[in-house]
């Protein structure tokens, strides 16, 4: 990618971040909450898309990393009374280590086997949450007490029950994730990642350790998804087994396909459309997950490049 194209993408990301920052001053309370959730789910989907969009690996088990972050942070706070920043850092580290272990095994498979293996590992994760019900309270889950959601940082107090504080933390995490991916993809490592995605055999025969390149992205992806889960658990104060379920592995796939796999801002766009839609539908019917099925099939049949993928193809070839 040329320097000019990279600069355009950087400006675009900064512009989107500026808009998101200013939203907190205009949105009504209910929508601030919704936007906070969306930004965290977008971080989750960004991590998923790092793997699918840039090295071409479709994981069906990313709920494992989201749930790992969620429980690693939440349980240390709940059971051991850890401080919020320490719990968050610990959770991101734990997710990265888990991704390293899972990746080292799962990346020995390709394509369909990779999808099934990741799905099964995530299933093991979901069962683990249920099995250790003494710690996790199983299906019902745990609520973090309000007292545990206030952190004294010395210079300031962080009150996670405050809506705007939560908004800005989620915003900070999203901004950091976008910038990390922007820099990574603009670097030589990003070029190697997409080379692996486009033609694995060729890339190996140019002297690159393809396995290491995939594993590196797998760990980045797992850590980012784990960070999203950790923030989700701490900001909303609830840890439930649902977050480890198959549905939470499918949602980032859905967001990414809708927004456009392999586009930096695609997952965010996908979240914006889907989360709003799902929330509206859930007020109308209990069978609101029907929409997940319909949208998946419509996308895969008629719109496989997604929103930003199509925009890139038709109008803006420089989008990354």
């Amino acid at each position: 990618m040329s320097r000019a194209a990279f600069a355009r993408n950087a400006w675009l990301v900064l512009a989107v971040l500026a808009v998101l920052f200013s939203l907190q001053f205009v949105l009504p309370d209910y929508q601030v909450l919704m936007a906070t959730r969306m930004m965290l789910l977008a971080v989750f989907a960004l991590g998923f898309n790092a793997l699918l969009g840039y090295v071409g690996l479709l994981s069906l088990g990313h709920a494992l990393f989201f749930a790992c972050g969620l429980y690693a942070s939440g349980l240390t706070v709940y059971h051991f009374g850890w401080g919020l920043p320490a719990a968050f850092v610990f959770a991101v580290g734990a997710s990265a280590v888990l991704a390293l272990l899972i990746g080292a095994v799962a990346l020995r498979t390709i394509r369909v086997s990779f999808m099934i293996v990741t799905l099964m590992f995530a299933q093991v994760g979901a069962l683990t949450v249920l099995y250790f019900a003494a710690w996790t309270n199983g299906q019902e889950g745990l609520s973090l007490p309000a007292s545990a959601r206030v952190a004294d940082l010395g210079v300031a107090t962080l009150d996670l029950t405050d809506a705007l504080t939560r908004y800005n933390i989620a915003y900070g995490l999203l901004a950091a994730s976008l910038l990390i991916l922007l820099v990574y993809l603009g670097s030589a490592r990003g070029r190697i990642a997409t080379a692996v995605r486009d033609n694995e055999g060729r890339t190996e025969m140019l002297g690159f350790n393809v396995f290491a390149a995939k594993l590196e992205m797998f760990v980045l992806s797992g850590a980012m998804s784990g960070a999203a889960g950790a923030a989700y658990g701490l900001l909303f104060g609830y840890l439930g087994a649902t977050f480890a379920s198959f549905q939470y592995s499918i949602e980032p796939l859905l967001f990414t396909l809708l927004g456009g796999a392999g586009t930096l801002l695609g997952p965010l766009v996908g979240v914006l459309f889907m989360v709003g839609l799902i929330d509206k539908l859930s007020e109308l019917t209990t069978a609101y997950l029907l929409v997940i099925g319909v949208v998946l099939i419509v996308l895969i049949l008629w719109f496989p490049k997604g929103i930003l993928g199509t925009v890139r193809e038709r109008w803006l070839p420089w989008l990354m």
Binding site: V112, S113, M115, Y131, G293, L296, L301
Partner: protein, 293 residues
């Protein structure tokens, strides 16, 4: 009850589970073998089979055996039709691209499951077994219907074997499984075969659904377990290998039945899922499957 009888009971329960599982997994294996499609919606076909069995049985008054027999006929036909249609409308258009078809069958999973939730509701409902008869062992009584399920599974698996090995349809399927391009070149309509195979796989799942519903009740979320267990069976048995599938179903059914009675069922599932994921990574042809061609 002493350990011996306890083990006998666990073994019987395991065999019943193995029976249902081998039918379900045979469907999954057939679809994967011939079409190279991993059908994530396979468990929903079991669920749909069970729910349709409930509707059929509740419409027919009279002896429960009537309703059951009708369900055994109506359920697979309807489910097969649904599968046939989804193959034509969705999977065929994707050219059977492996990743795309998995995503599509995930979509199908949600559509089937949530439609049933809309129409049938969130309750679990039982269907009467065709007959009530309890076999008296010295230590416990055991439902004869469950033994009937084992017998039915043996008959059905024998039928599948016969169709695959001895009939023209089976020859066509095996040819398509062995080498799509060559089969096509020899004038086998591989494209149409795919639709029938997908329908047949779903019908097997539906039959399994009808058979379990007197034991287990029909519920819109009941598809998850059969899906996971079928995956486990097909992976251990070797993807696409029918005899491996049957052996693996007995192995998994028995060990799951026995381990679940001795330990926590959640732990049993956790350990077996983990082990099977590792089998898929390190022994991709299965523990029982032959080496790759």
């Amino acid at each position: 009850m002493g350990f011996g009888p306890y083990l006998l009971l666990a073994t019987l329960e395991g065999l019943v589970q193995a029976a249902v599982l081998s039918i379900t997994a045979a469907g999954l294996s057939l679809v994967f073998g011939v079409m190279r499609v991993v059908n994530v919606a396979h468990g929903e076909f079991v669920m749909l089979g069970a729910v349709i069995a409930w509707f059929t049985a509740s419409l027919l008054t009279g002896h429960p055996a009537m309703g059951f027999a009708a369900a055994l006929l109506v359920s697979p036909l309807l489910v097969g039709a649904v599968a046939f249609a989804s193959e034509r409308v969705v999977l065929r258009r994707l050219d059977y691209n492996p990743e795309a078809t998995i995503v599509a069958t995930i979509g199908l999973l949600y559509i089937l499951q949530q439609t049933v939730l809309l129409v049938y509701g969130p309750d679990a409902r039982p269907v009467d077994p065709p007959f009530y008869y309890t076999i008296r062992f010295p230590w416990f009584g055991y439902s004869a219907y469950k033994l009937f399920v084992i017998g039915a599974a043996i008959v059905i698996m024998g039928g599948i074997w016969f169709v695959l090995q001895k009939t023209r349809a089976g020859l066509v399927m095996r040819a398509a499984q062995y080498d799509r391009e060559t089969a096509q070149a020899f004038g086998i309509p591989v494209d149409r075969v795919s639709a029938w195979v997908f329908a047949l796989g779903a019908m097997l799942a539906a039959i399994a659904g009808v058979l379990v519903v007197p034991i287990q009740q029909a519920h819109y979320l009941m598809g998850a377990d059969p899906l996971l267990l079928s995956f486990i069976v097909v992976i251990i048995g070797g993807l696409g290998s029918m005899s491996g599938t049957v052996l693996a179903a007995v192995l998994v059914g028995l060990s799951d039945g026995i381990i679940s009675m001795m330990f926590s069922p959640t732990l049993a599932k956790m350990v077996s899922t983990l082990l099977v994921a590792l089998v898929l990574v390190f022994r991709p042809n299965g523990l029982l499957g032959k080496a790759a061609r």
